[in-house]
Protein backbone atom coordinates (compact mmCIF):
# COMPACT_ATOMS: atom_id res chain seq x y z
CA UNK A 1 0.00 0.00 0.00
CA UNK A 2 2.90 2.24 0.85
CA UNK A 3 4.35 1.54 -2.62
CA UNK A 4 1.15 2.55 -4.36
CA UNK A 5 0.91 5.90 -2.58
CA UNK A 6 4.61 6.50 -3.22
CA UNK A 7 4.25 5.66 -6.89
CA UNK A 8 1.23 7.91 -7.39
CA UNK A 9 2.73 10.83 -5.46
CA UNK A 10 6.06 10.57 -7.33
CA UNK A 11 4.19 10.64 -10.63
CA UNK A 12 2.48 13.90 -9.71
CA UNK A 13 5.13 16.07 -8.07
CA UNK A 14 8.03 18.05 -9.49
CA UNK A 15 10.50 16.64 -6.94
CA UNK A 16 9.88 12.89 -6.80
CA UNK A 17 12.95 12.27 -4.62
CA UNK A 18 11.40 14.28 -1.82
CA UNK A 19 8.35 12.04 -1.59
CA UNK A 20 8.26 9.99 1.59
CA UNK A 21 5.61 7.62 2.80
CA UNK A 22 5.63 5.95 6.20
CA UNK A 23 3.22 3.24 7.20
CA UNK A 24 2.18 1.82 10.52
CA UNK A 25 -0.24 -1.01 10.86
CA UNK A 26 -2.35 -2.07 13.76
CA UNK A 27 -4.82 -4.85 13.40
CA UNK A 28 -6.41 -4.37 9.98
CA UNK A 29 -5.93 -0.62 9.82
CA UNK A 30 -2.95 0.79 7.97
CA UNK A 31 -2.05 4.40 8.69
CA UNK A 32 -0.04 6.05 5.96
CA UNK A 33 1.67 9.41 6.12
CA UNK A 34 2.69 11.16 2.92
CA UNK A 35 5.30 13.89 2.88
CA UNK A 36 6.45 15.91 -0.12
CA UNK A 37 8.56 18.99 -0.75
CA UNK A 38 6.50 21.90 0.56
CA UNK A 39 6.00 23.41 -2.92
CA UNK A 40 4.64 20.06 -4.11
CA UNK A 41 1.92 19.82 -1.47
CA UNK A 42 -0.65 21.30 -3.82
CA UNK A 43 0.18 18.63 -6.39
CA UNK A 44 -0.96 15.83 -4.08
CA UNK A 45 -3.86 17.71 -2.48
CA UNK A 46 -5.40 19.67 -5.33
CA UNK A 47 -8.21 22.20 -5.31
CA UNK A 48 -10.65 21.32 -2.55
CA UNK A 49 -8.62 18.18 -1.94
CA UNK A 50 -9.66 16.63 -5.23
CA UNK A 51 -6.30 14.95 -5.90
CA UNK A 52 -6.02 13.70 -2.30
CA UNK A 53 -9.50 12.24 -2.63
CA UNK A 54 -8.57 10.40 -5.84
CA UNK A 55 -5.41 9.00 -4.20
CA UNK A 56 -7.49 7.80 -1.23
CA UNK A 57 -10.01 6.16 -3.56
CA UNK A 58 -7.28 4.17 -5.30
CA UNK A 59 -5.69 3.36 -1.95
CA UNK A 60 -9.03 2.08 -0.70
CA UNK A 61 -9.31 -0.26 -3.68
CA UNK A 62 -5.84 -1.67 -2.98
CA UNK A 63 -6.56 -2.02 0.75
CA UNK A 64 -9.84 -3.81 0.07
CA UNK A 65 -7.96 -6.28 -2.13
CA UNK A 66 -5.69 -7.04 0.83
CA UNK A 67 -8.61 -7.28 3.25
CA UNK A 68 -7.55 -4.18 5.15
CA UNK A 69 -8.50 -0.59 5.76
CA UNK A 70 -6.21 2.29 5.04
CA UNK A 71 -6.02 5.84 6.19
CA UNK A 72 -3.90 8.46 4.42
CA UNK A 73 -2.63 11.65 6.02
CA UNK A 74 -0.83 14.24 3.98
CA UNK A 75 1.60 15.99 6.29
Amino acid sequence: MKDVVEHIARSLVTQPDEVQVTASENDKLVNLELRTASEDMGKVIGKQGRIAKAIRTVLKAVATKEGKKANLDIM
Binding site: D3, T64, K65
Partner: protein
Protein backbone atom coordinates in the same frame (compact mmCIF):
# COMPACT_ATOMS: atom_id res chain seq x y z
CA UNK B 1 11.56 8.80 -20.69
CA UNK B 2 13.39 5.49 -21.12
CA UNK B 3 16.93 5.26 -22.38
CA UNK B 4 19.08 2.22 -23.03
CA UNK B 5 22.64 1.75 -24.23
CA UNK B 6 23.51 -1.26 -26.36
CA UNK B 7 26.62 -2.70 -27.93
CA UNK B 8 26.90 -4.95 -30.95
CA UNK B 9 29.17 -5.62 -33.90
CA UNK B 10 27.53 -2.92 -35.99
CA UNK B 11 25.55 0.24 -35.27
CA UNK B 12 22.47 -1.23 -36.97
CA UNK B 13 22.65 -4.37 -34.87
CA UNK B 14 23.01 -2.33 -31.67
CA UNK B 15 19.96 -0.23 -32.55
CA UNK B 16 18.06 -3.40 -33.32
CA UNK B 17 18.85 -4.77 -29.86
CA UNK B 18 17.84 -1.50 -28.20
CA UNK B 19 14.48 -1.44 -30.02
CA UNK B 20 13.78 -4.97 -28.84
CA UNK B 21 14.68 -4.01 -25.28
CA UNK B 22 12.43 -0.92 -25.38
CA UNK B 23 9.70 -2.72 -27.26
CA UNK B 24 9.55 0.21 -29.65
CA UNK B 25 9.64 0.93 -33.36
CA UNK B 26 12.30 3.02 -35.09
CA UNK B 27 9.87 5.92 -35.51
CA UNK B 28 9.34 6.16 -31.73
CA UNK B 29 12.97 6.63 -30.78
CA UNK B 30 15.92 8.94 -31.09
CA UNK B 31 19.41 7.56 -31.05
CA UNK B 32 22.93 8.69 -30.63
CA UNK B 33 25.98 6.75 -31.82
CA UNK B 34 28.48 6.57 -28.98
CA UNK B 35 31.00 4.34 -30.73
CA UNK B 36 31.10 3.51 -34.41
CA UNK B 37 32.89 0.24 -33.89
CA UNK B 38 35.63 -1.15 -36.06
CA UNK B 39 36.52 -4.55 -37.36
CA UNK B 40 40.19 -4.18 -36.52
CA UNK B 41 42.85 -5.87 -38.51
CA UNK B 42 42.44 -9.61 -38.80
CA UNK B 43 40.14 -9.46 -35.79
CA UNK B 44 42.74 -7.68 -33.70
CA UNK B 45 41.65 -4.45 -32.02
CA UNK B 46 38.05 -4.99 -33.07
CA UNK B 47 35.66 -2.73 -31.22
CA UNK B 48 31.92 -3.04 -30.78
CA UNK B 49 29.60 -0.30 -31.93
CA UNK B 50 27.69 1.37 -29.12
CA UNK B 51 24.44 3.37 -29.28
CA UNK B 52 22.23 5.21 -26.84
CA UNK B 53 18.56 4.96 -27.74
CA UNK B 54 15.84 7.08 -26.15
CA UNK B 55 12.20 6.12 -26.33
CA UNK B 56 9.99 9.14 -27.03
CA UNK B 57 7.01 8.01 -25.10
CA UNK B 58 3.63 9.18 -26.17
CA UNK B 59 0.73 9.79 -23.76
CA UNK B 60 -0.39 6.21 -24.23
CA UNK B 61 2.92 4.74 -22.97
CA UNK B 62 3.09 7.24 -20.12
CA UNK B 63 -0.44 6.36 -19.06
CA UNK B 64 0.28 2.63 -19.08
CA UNK B 65 3.53 3.13 -17.19
CA UNK B 66 1.61 5.03 -14.54
CA UNK B 67 -1.19 2.49 -14.28
CA UNK B 68 0.78 -0.76 -14.45
CA UNK B 69 2.16 -0.75 -10.88
CA UNK B 70 -1.31 0.08 -9.52
CA UNK B 71 -2.92 -2.72 -11.52
CA UNK B 72 -0.32 -5.09 -10.16
CA UNK B 73 -1.34 -4.21 -6.60
CA UNK B 74 -4.97 -4.73 -7.54
CA UNK B 75 -4.04 -8.14 -8.84
CA UNK B 76 -5.24 -7.49 -12.37
CA UNK B 77 -3.34 -7.75 -15.58
CA UNK B 78 -5.62 -6.40 -18.29
CA UNK B 79 -4.99 -6.04 -21.99
CA UNK B 80 -5.70 -2.68 -23.53
CA UNK B 81 -6.34 -0.89 -26.76
CA UNK B 82 -5.90 2.84 -27.21
CA UNK B 83 -7.76 4.90 -29.78
CA UNK B 84 -8.18 8.59 -30.43
CA UNK B 85 -11.78 9.70 -30.36
CA UNK B 86 -13.29 13.17 -30.17
CA UNK B 87 -9.97 14.78 -29.30
CA UNK B 88 -9.31 12.41 -26.41
CA UNK B 89 -7.25 9.29 -26.01
CA UNK B 90 -9.52 6.40 -25.00
CA UNK B 91 -7.75 3.53 -23.34
CA UNK B 92 -10.01 0.52 -22.99
CA UNK B 93 -9.06 -2.38 -20.78
CA UNK B 94 -10.27 -5.92 -20.96
CA UNK B 95 -9.51 -9.03 -18.96
CA UNK B 96 -10.37 -10.96 -15.84
CA UNK B 97 -11.69 -9.54 -12.56
CA UNK B 98 -11.62 -5.92 -13.61
CA UNK B 99 -14.29 -4.98 -11.07
CA UNK B 100 -11.45 -3.87 -8.80
CA UNK B 101 -10.47 -1.07 -11.17
CA UNK B 102 -14.05 0.07 -11.69
CA UNK B 103 -15.19 0.26 -8.08
CA UNK B 104 -18.57 1.29 -6.77
CA UNK B 105 -20.35 3.31 -9.47
CA UNK B 106 -17.05 3.65 -11.26
CA UNK B 107 -15.43 5.68 -8.48
CA UNK B 108 -12.08 3.84 -8.71
CA UNK B 109 -12.04 4.15 -12.49
CA UNK B 110 -12.80 7.88 -12.24
CA UNK B 111 -10.04 8.37 -9.65
CA UNK B 112 -7.55 6.44 -11.80
CA UNK B 113 -8.57 8.45 -14.83
CA UNK B 114 -8.13 11.75 -13.01
CA UNK B 115 -4.72 10.78 -11.64
CA UNK B 116 -3.60 9.40 -15.01
CA UNK B 117 -4.44 12.71 -16.69
CA UNK B 118 -2.40 14.59 -14.08
CA UNK B 119 0.55 12.18 -14.23
CA UNK B 120 0.68 12.03 -18.02
CA UNK B 121 0.36 15.77 -18.59
CA UNK B 122 2.59 16.82 -15.70
CA UNK B 123 5.53 18.06 -17.73
CA UNK B 124 3.92 18.63 -21.09
CA UNK B 125 2.32 21.69 -22.57
CA UNK B 126 0.04 20.01 -25.06
CA UNK B 127 -2.43 18.35 -22.77
CA UNK B 128 -3.92 15.08 -23.89
CA UNK B 129 -7.28 14.24 -22.39
CA UNK B 130 -7.29 10.60 -21.41
CA UNK B 131 -10.40 8.54 -20.85
CA UNK B 132 -10.12 5.14 -19.22
CA UNK B 133 -12.73 2.51 -19.92
CA UNK B 134 -13.20 -1.06 -18.86
CA UNK B 135 -15.01 -3.42 -21.20
CA UNK B 136 -17.50 -0.87 -22.36
CA UNK B 137 -18.33 0.25 -18.82
CA UNK B 138 -18.47 3.92 -19.79
CA UNK B 139 -20.67 3.29 -22.81
CA UNK B 140 -23.10 1.27 -20.70
CA UNK B 141 -23.10 3.97 -18.03
CA UNK B 142 -23.77 6.61 -20.73
CA UNK B 143 -26.75 4.64 -21.99
CA UNK B 144 -28.07 4.26 -18.45
CA UNK B 145 -27.69 7.99 -17.78
CA UNK B 146 -29.36 8.92 -21.05
CA UNK B 147 -32.27 6.64 -20.19
CA UNK B 148 -32.54 8.12 -16.71
CA UNK B 149 -32.41 11.64 -18.16
CA UNK B 150 -35.36 10.99 -20.48
CA UNK B 151 -37.41 9.39 -17.75
CA UNK B 152 -36.80 12.29 -15.37
CA UNK B 153 -37.55 14.84 -18.11
CA UNK B 154 -40.93 13.18 -18.56
CA UNK B 155 -41.53 13.40 -14.85
CA UNK B 156 -40.64 17.12 -14.77
CA UNK B 157 -42.91 17.80 -17.72
CA UNK B 158 -45.88 15.93 -16.28
CA UNK B 159 -45.59 17.10 -12.69
CA UNK B 160 -44.42 20.62 -13.43
CA UNK B 161 -42.00 20.29 -10.55
CA UNK B 162 -38.23 20.51 -10.69
CA UNK B 163 -36.49 17.17 -10.73
CA UNK B 164 -33.11 17.24 -8.98
CA UNK B 165 -30.77 14.39 -9.91
CA UNK B 166 -28.13 12.90 -7.63
CA UNK B 167 -24.63 14.46 -7.60
CA UNK B 168 -22.60 13.55 -10.66
CA UNK B 169 -19.17 14.15 -12.14
CA UNK B 170 -18.81 16.89 -14.80
CA UNK B 171 -18.60 14.23 -17.50
CA UNK B 172 -21.82 12.58 -16.35
CA UNK B 173 -23.66 15.88 -16.04
CA UNK B 174 -22.59 16.70 -19.56
CA UNK B 175 -24.22 13.48 -20.78
CA UNK B 176 -27.51 14.49 -19.11
CA UNK B 177 -27.44 18.01 -20.55
CA UNK B 178 -26.59 16.72 -24.04
CA UNK B 179 -29.31 14.06 -23.93
CA UNK B 180 -31.98 16.58 -22.99
CA UNK B 181 -30.82 19.40 -25.23
CA UNK B 182 -33.44 18.61 -27.87
CA UNK B 183 -36.27 17.62 -25.53
CA UNK B 184 -39.22 19.95 -25.68
CA UNK B 185 -40.89 21.62 -22.75
CA UNK B 186 -38.01 21.34 -20.31
CA UNK B 187 -34.59 22.81 -19.70
CA UNK B 188 -31.65 21.69 -17.60
CA UNK B 189 -29.03 23.42 -15.50
CA UNK B 190 -26.57 22.45 -12.77
CA UNK B 191 -26.51 23.68 -9.21
CA UNK B 192 -24.33 23.27 -6.15
CA UNK B 193 -20.61 22.96 -5.69
CA UNK B 194 -18.32 20.15 -6.75
CA UNK B 195 -18.29 17.33 -5.91
CA UNK B 196 -21.97 17.60 -5.04
CA UNK B 197 -23.05 19.47 -8.17
CA UNK B 198 -26.36 18.20 -9.48
CA UNK B 199 -28.43 18.52 -12.61
CA UNK B 200 -31.87 20.07 -12.25
CA UNK B 201 -34.56 19.46 -14.85
CA UNK B 202 -37.24 22.11 -14.87
CA UNK B 203 -40.40 22.63 -16.90
CA UNK B 204 -40.21 25.55 -19.28
CA UNK B 205 -42.47 28.52 -18.69
CA UNK B 206 -43.11 27.79 -15.02
CA UNK B 207 -43.32 30.95 -12.98
CA UNK B 208 -40.47 30.37 -10.58
CA UNK B 209 -41.78 32.86 -8.02
CA UNK B 210 -44.78 30.72 -7.24
Amino acid sequence: MKTVEMSAKTVDAAIELALAELNAGLDQVEYEILENGSKGILGLGAKDARVRVTFNEGPEQRAIEFLQPIFKKLNVNPEYIAIEREGALWISFSGQNLGAIIGRRGETLDALQYLTNLAVNRQYDDKTRIILDVEGYRQTREDTLAGLARKMADKARKSGRDVVLEPMSPHERRIIHMTLQEERGIRTYSQGEEPYRKVVITKKGVNRDN
